[in-house]
Symmetry: C2
Subunit: 280 residues, 2 copies
């Protein structure tokens, strides 16, 4: 199963599982990587979570999430920076070198000001992350989340921040669901060369619905995942590939079944290897 050597379960995909269940599930399923979430880690305990992943022999691909920088008052902005420093420390304890940043929405109607706040906060956080040996991965979110979660809506914007901040510790995380629609995507993947810190796969099904919970399993939507994976590799990224799917129907299934489906779909739709016995 060398085809799975880069596969990572982002634990958002198995929402009902805690850190232990997710880590043990991955170990049983032959999935070598796991992406953790801070709320799940807090439930289990930070040190306990770190020892669970060590015991199970997994590698931690990333910690989700820092960010959420813009705020109405200076006090709030400073509190959020403090929280991000704690997230950096947690990432180090968990043994990953990537903290994923979901940058936050504008508190009012001024997107330009919020984008400036995001950039300033990342600039402030970078030296702290550097001392801890942690990379900060700016994840552009789909524009459907611009009002609630992130003013950084395209890979082009994320690349712009990376260039201007100019720290080797600041890069981008590319999630297929968030960027697939972008006419400039392949240009911007090329431009991200050398600063790609993560690649997430999932799918965008047709038919609408709330984008927060409508993510599909790879193969259930319209995204050309294989081409995107090849472009990300051509840009020099050889790290783990996380499967991160927010979807009530997938959450309702037994975790083991989700991992098996995810493995088959990854091989078929991301790597482009048709598994023996046909497609799933």
């Amino acid at each position: 199963m060398t085809g799975l050597s880069r596969l990572s379960l982002n634990q958002a995909t198995t929402k009902r599982w805690g850190v232990r269940e997710a880590a043990e599930g991955c170990a049983r399923a032959g999935i070598p990587w796991i992406g953790l979430w801070r709320d799940k880690v807090a439930e289990t305990g930070l040190e306990e979570s770190a020892s669970i992943v060590r015991e199970t022999g997994l590698k931690v691909s990333s910690l989700c999430r820092g960010g959420m920088f813009p705020a109405t008052t200076k006090r709030e902005r400073l509190d959020r920076l403090d929280d991000n420093r704690r997230a950096v420390d947690e990432a180090a304890t968990l043994g990953t070198d990537v903290l994923v940043l979901v940058c936050g929405a504008a508190p009012g109607r001024d997107l330009r000001a919020a984008r400036d706040e995001v950039e300033e906060a990342i600039e402030t956080l970078a030296p702290y992350a550097d001392e801890a040996g942690i990379n900060l991965g700016i994840e552009p979110l789909h524009p459907a989340f611009a009002a609630d979660r992130s003013v950084v809506c395209t890979l082009g914007e994320a690349n712009g921040i990376v260039r201007r901040v100019g720290s080797p510790r600041v890069g981008v995380v590319i999630d297929a669901y968030h960027v697939w629609w972008d006419a400039d995507l392949y240009t911007e993947i090329g431009r991200a060369s050398g600063s790609i810190l993560g690649f997430h796969v999932d799918d965008w099904p047709r038919g609408g619905g709330d984008p927060l919970l409508s993510r599909g399993m790879m193969g259930d939507g319209v995204i050309g995942l294989r081409r995107m994976r090849e472009a990300v590799e051509d840009a020099g990224y050889e790290g783990p590939v996380e499967v991160e799917i927010f979807n009530e129907a997938i959450w309702a299934k037994p975790g083991e079944e989700v991992l098996e489906t995810m493995k088959r779909r990854y091989l078929e739709h991301v790597l482009g290897e048709v598994p023996a016995g046909g497609s799933a």
Copy 2:
């Protein structure tokens, strides 16, 4: 009420009304413009619809919608072009000079090919529209609709098509809901100067939900509408401003009430005039 001289009801906002009810409602409310939809016009009849708007003294700001160009087979693509020619004729009969184009989604996973098909179709349609005296307004749709409705997701892409097609009959329609999140928006509004064929206002509320039905009334969301209106004017557009809101809660209200709210909100949030008696 000169403040309302550019206001137009796009009849999608009052979905339960037919052409006659919408036109008479506008006339009573002192709204001088109306934007019509082909399905509503078909229900009432084309000639009948045309005489209703003449009788009520309204001006027709646009007809929605042409487009939906990409298709799996050549036969289907030709059928869709024919349908667009009929839409051009209908626009002429109704006395508007703008046909709004929602360009269509990719039938498969190849966005680039679908974008090329869209451009080719608009190029093919332009001379026909020119003979009929109709302008074709490419409306970029929010990327949330890329899988189902339009591969043209940004004003930048629409501007690119306009430049490459190079017909004075081809321009863009800017809808606040679709473009507000874009970091390049103001640059692209400037670039659209001279080819803006319509401006639609509405709002993006916080809190998520299905983007198809989550549009808000102006003032109920995060969009800086006044700034956007000023930029569109700076780019030379002085035409009607359509209010186009797809929202079950608004559809459930009496049409008269919707028109009154829409007038107040337009004055306050789009024009920036606080009406006597305070905000609504």
